[in-house]
C-alpha cells in the first residue's frame, strides 16, 4: 500500500518455502502478490498460496486455530512472519492426507469416525498439533494428548471426542506419518 516505506534491498529479495512438499518462491515487497514484511505466515498461506484450510480465529496467538507444522514443530502461523520463514518446511492441513490417493491420514480418519468436531473451525489446527505430537510420541497417554492440545480453543467442546479419536488412531496399528 502507498504508506509503506520502500526498501530497494527488500524488494529484490525472494524467499523459499516448502509447503506440503511443494516448493514456492515468494518475492518480498509490496507489489501485488508479493509478501509484505508484516505479512504473517497464516496470511500468506491463505491469501497468497490459497491454502485456506489453515484458519485464523483470534489472530493473537491465543487460540491455536492457525497451527501448522514448521520444521517438525507445531507453531502459530498467525504469530509468525512469513519473511522469517525462508527455507522452512511447512505442513498444513492440506498436506495431511495422501496426496496421490487422497486417503485420509489415520488421525483424520479417526476424527471422522469419532465425530471429533462440531463446527469444525478449530479442527485443522487441532489436527496439526496432534500430528506434531504423534510424530514425536506415537503412543501418547490421554494426559499427553490433553497437554499437547492445551492451546486449542474449541468452543463447541469436542475435547472428549478429540482425545478419544487421537487415542484410537495411536493405539491401533498403522503408520502415523
Amino acid at each position: 500500500m502507498n504508506t509503506r516505506q520502500n526498501d530497494p534491498e527488500q524488494e529484490r529479495r525472494t524467499i523459499h518455502l516448502k509447503v506440503n512438499d511443494k516448493d514456492y518462491a515468494l518475492a518480498i515487497g509490496d507489489t501485488v502478490g508479493a509478501v509484505a514484511p508484516s505479512d504473517t505466515l497464516a496470511h500468506t498461506l491463505r491469501e497468497t498460496l490459497g491454502l485456506t484450510g489453515t484458519k485464523i480465529s483470534c489472530d493473537q496467538g491465543s487460540c491455536g486455530a492457525c497451527t501448522v507444522i514448521m520444521n517438525g514443530k507445531s507453531i502459530l502461523s498467525c504469530m509468525t512472519l512469513t519473511i522469517e520463514c525462508d527455507g522452512a518446511r511447512i505442513i498444513t492441513i492440506e498436506g495431511l492426507a495422501d496426496p496421490a490417493t487422497g486417503q485420509l491420514h489415520p488421525l483424520q480418519q479417526a476424527f471422522v469416525d469419532n465425530s471429533a468436531f462440531q463446527c469444525g473451525f478449530c479442527t485443522p489446527g487441532i489436527l496439526m498439533s496432534t500430528k506434531a505430537l504423534v510424530d514425536q510420541n506415537p503412543h501418547p497417554t490421554r494426559d499427553a494428548i490433553q497437554h499437547a492440545l492445551s492451546g486449542h480453543f474449541c468452543r463447541c467442546i469436542s475435547h472428549y471426542e478429540v482425545v478419544d479419536a487421537v487415542c484410537q488412531a495411536t493405539t491401533t496399528e498403522g503408520d502415523h506419518d
Binding site: Q5, Q10, P37, S38, M79
Partner: protein, 323 residues
C-alpha cells in the same frame, strides 16, 4: 498489521547497530509471540519502523553448563529448556517454569530472552486501539493508571505507585530464585543485571540500543531443592495469578540458604526477603513454614480487588516449603 520494514540481524553487533540507527523505532523479534500481539492491537502509541529478526544470529540459542553454572543464550527456546537434561537435572525450576508457559506452540518458538522482556499483560495497557482507541496510562507516558480505581484483580500487591501492572514472566521468577543475571549488550558495551534488578515499575532497564544476549545462572549449592508453583485459573494459556519460585539448600536439618521469589505480584519478580529471613538457620517445621508464609506478604498493599492474591501467595509459599 500496519506496515514495517524488516531486517535480519547477523550478529549481536549488527543488531546493536540497527537499534542505534533507528533510536527506539526498531523492535527486536525473536519468537514474536508477544511483539506481534502488541503490533496487531496497536495498544502502544509507538509503532516500529523496523522489525529486526534476531533469530538469524547464530549461536545465541545454546544451553551450556559447567561447574560454575549454567549459561543460556537469549534465543534459547522455552521448549528446549523444558527438554534439556542438564536443566532438568540441576536447574529443574527452569524446566518447570518454562513448561508452564502458555501452550506448546508458543514454547516451540518463544525464547528465554523474549519471555524476560515481554510487555505486561495489564488489560488496560493491552486494550485494542481498534475499539475506540487505546487506553493511555502512566506506562505509556501519559494519564493516570485506571487500574487503581478500576478492575485490578490481576494487578500488583507490592509497590506500584505509578503503575500497578505486574511482570508476567514465569522465567523471571525461576531465574531470580536461582540468583541469575541477565547479560546485556548495547552501544556502550556489555553489562550484567540481576534478574531482580532488570525490571522497574514502568518496564525494564533495557536502553533502546540494548539487547539481552544471555543468562548466567550460578550453580546452586549441592542438595538444594527447587520448587516452582504457578497459580492460575486454567492449566494452560493463563499467565500466573501468583507464582512462587523457591530454591533452598539445607545444612543438616536447618536451612542454610534460601531464596523465595514471588511472581505476578509486583512489577518484577519479588524477592520475599522477610520470608527468607524467617527460614535461614531454622528447621522447616510447620510453625516456621507458617511464619515464612506470613512473612512473604509483609508489606503487601493490595488494591481494591486483588487482596485474594495475598492469600494465594501465602498458600503457595507454604506449599512450596512443604514439598
Amino acid at each position: 498489521m500496519q506496515p514495517f520494514q524488516h531486517q535480519a540481524a547477523t550478529s549481536v553487533a549488527d543488531t546493536i547497530a540497527i537499534l542505534s540507527t533507528h533510536k527506539g523505532r526498531a523492535k527486536l523479534m525473536a519468537g514474536g509471540t508477544d511483539l506481534l500481539g502488541i503490533l496487531k492491537t496497536r495498544a502502544t502509541v509507538a509503532y516500529p519502523k523496523v522489525v529486526v529478526n534476531i533469530k538469524s544470529i547464530a549461536g545465541l540459542d545454546k544451553i551450556q553448563s559447567d561447574g560454575q553454572g549454567l549459561s543460556l543464550g537469549a534465543l534459547t527456546r522455552l521448549a528446549d529448556i523444558v527438554d534439556s537434561e542438564v536443566i532438568r537435572d540441576a536447574y529443574p525450576i527452569l524446566a518447570e517454569a518454562a513448561a508452564s508457559v502458555a501452550m506448546p506452540q508458543i514454547r516451540n518458538v518463544g525464547t528465554i530472552g523474549g519471555n524476560l522482556a515481554q510487555e505486561t499483560r495489564c488489560w488496560y495497557f493491552r486494550y485494542p486501539h481498534s475499539i475506540g482507541g487505546r487506553i493511555m496510562c502512566k506506562r505509556k507516558g501519559e494519564a493516570a493508571c485506571l487500574a487503581v480505581k478500576g478492575d485490578n484483580r490481576y494487578h500488583a500487591i507490592f509497590g506500584g505507585k505509578k503503575c500497578f501492572a505486574v511482570c508476567p514472566s514465569d522465567m523471571a521468577v525461576a531465574l531470580a530464585a536461582l540468583d541469575a543475571e541477565i547479560q546485556i549488550s548495547g552501544a556502550k558495551g556489555q553489562r550484567s543485571v540481576a534478574v531482580t534488578g532488570f525490571y522497574h515499575p514502568l518496564g525494564n532497564v533495557l536502553e533502546t540500543d540494548e539487547m539481552i544476549t544471555g543468562i548466567k545462572v550460578p550453580r546452586p549449592a549441592p542438595n538444594n531443592r527447587q520448587v516452582f508453583i504457578k497459580h492460575r485459573v486454567r492449566d494452560a494459556i493463563d499467565f500466573a495469578t501468583v507464582s512462587v519460585g523457591l530454591v533452598v539448600s539445607m545444612d543438616a536439618k536447618t536451612v542454610a540458604d534460601v531464596r523465595v521469589v514471588l511472581g505476578a505480584v509486583a512489577s518484577g519478580p519479588y524477592r520475599a526477603t522477610d520470608a527468607e529471613a524467617a527460614l535461614v538457620g531454622r528447621k522447616l517445621d510447620p510453625a516456621v513454614i507458617e511464619k515464612a508464609a506470613e512473612a512473604s506478604v509483609a508489606g503487601a498493599v493490595p488494591l481494591s480487588g486483588n487482596a485474594y492474591k495475598v492469600d494465594i501467595t501465602k498458600t503457595l509459599v507454604r506449599q512450596a516449603l512443604q514439598i
